[in-house]
Amino acid sequence: MNQTEFLTLADRYLGGEMTAKERLEFESLCREDAEWNSQFLSHKEFVSDLRKHENRKEFIASLDQVVKNTSIEPIVLRMWRKLKINAVAAAAVAVISSLATLYLTGYFSTIRKTTTEYSALKREINNVKRNVNAHHNAIRNINSKENPAATPLQFGATGFMLTKDGYVVTNFHVVSGADSIHLQNNKGEIYRAAVIHVDEEKDLAILHISDTSFNMSQNIPYTFKRQGLDLGEGIFTIGYPRDEAVYGEGYLSSSTGYSGDTTAYQISVPVNPGNSGGPVLDKQGNVIGIISGKQKGIDGAAFAIKTKALIETLNRIPKDSLKGNIVLSSKNSLSNLPRTEQIKKLQDFIYMVKVY
């Protein structure tokens, strides 16, 4: 056997092409002859070196390609890619937590409140007393576990007579949601009243005294003045911001109401919760408007619904809901009297409206 033949055998052996019998023969040949054996081993090593060499060459080639073709993005981009999710999560957490904080600190409810700076002037009469009573009741009944129905909230406001046969005007916001309405005059007499008509848009409510005991002998001393008033005209009002009638005096400060409302005036008269529905009169004792509310945060900005709007509302009342026509008085018996006398005469026609 020459070297060529031996190497052919060795290649077949290494390539796994031999049958089991041939393998055994070849192995025994190598074992017996040291010369062949060392030949075989060096050949084996050389072949594996050759393979390794080729693999390494290939690796270097592909590495070269990768390094040439792969561009490394700038660090900012890489960071962004890596931290994108974290950034989004952090932003979400920030938004949620700030909203939650605003919500918990009551920011949104303040916004809602301040967006309507207009405040209606009805008075919660027994709010404090009610709270105190509720506490007392709770303490008293702490063992009996019986909770008596809480007394419903009570509101107070002002209203005045339109006609001597029992029609009274006040604000819609005073009577909205009312169970029952009572009118109390300055002598302490109380009458029940029913709502005849409401004009939610103009914030007006027309009531009628339904008690049979009601009997008005005097004529209405004031008239209703539809024409617009000049700025600066002196005006006055009487209302029930407390349980006693309270007089207030001022002037007409603008010919439009809250946020440009043309059906109302802006007046500068000190008014408080409870003044709602009170009449606004000029020097001669003509009713020029009805107090409805004031603007928060602005000193001396109260609003009164114009008489013109009241008359428009009256004309729109369906005939069948009326108990007799509304005929407004046309005779003014106040015009030449001093203010104190005017007030004395007026008082009988102005009521405290109590709403339960």
């Binding site: 393979r51 693999n55 390494r56 590495l63 990768v66």
Partner: protein, 184 residues
Amino acid sequence: MELLEGMRKGENSAIADIYKTCYPSVSHMILNNKGTEDEAKDIFQEAMIVLYDKITQAEGFELSSKLNTFLYAICRRLWLKQLNRRNLSLDSIDQENLDIPDMDSALESHEAEEVKFNQMEAAMANLGEPCASILKEFYIKKKSMQEICDQLGYTNADNAKNQKYKCLQRLKKLFFDQWVKDER
């Protein structure tokens, strides 16, 4: 470590992955120490070959540190050598206070590998065609003698076999002669 496995097989995607994750810190280190972008790439490639030698040498090779740290340490070592060769000292090569593993053994075996590689490369180059092709086809691509015979236009398989044998002998001679020359 799938990346290493992929790298052993020479997969481009594995190499690209390693390159993307490990190269930036290396490039930063070299650019901060009087190097250029191209030099950084060269160094990194060499480090990758060191890694390749390491993982092909022993089947069950496992990194003693993170891949990133390993490559960084090798690059640092290689760059130090470069700078020494140019008689430049380096002021502050580490921007991070890394615990730099000792890479000398890896580098030594790499250098041996490199010498061998170059010898083989030279032997192959001296061998010339068609010998180189015959040997590659047979030993690397593991084709049968018949296929090689058809491909390279030999009259019959025995002829090709004879040729292959002669080529192999010549290659061995070229390779070992070089070896002896280097030894001397």
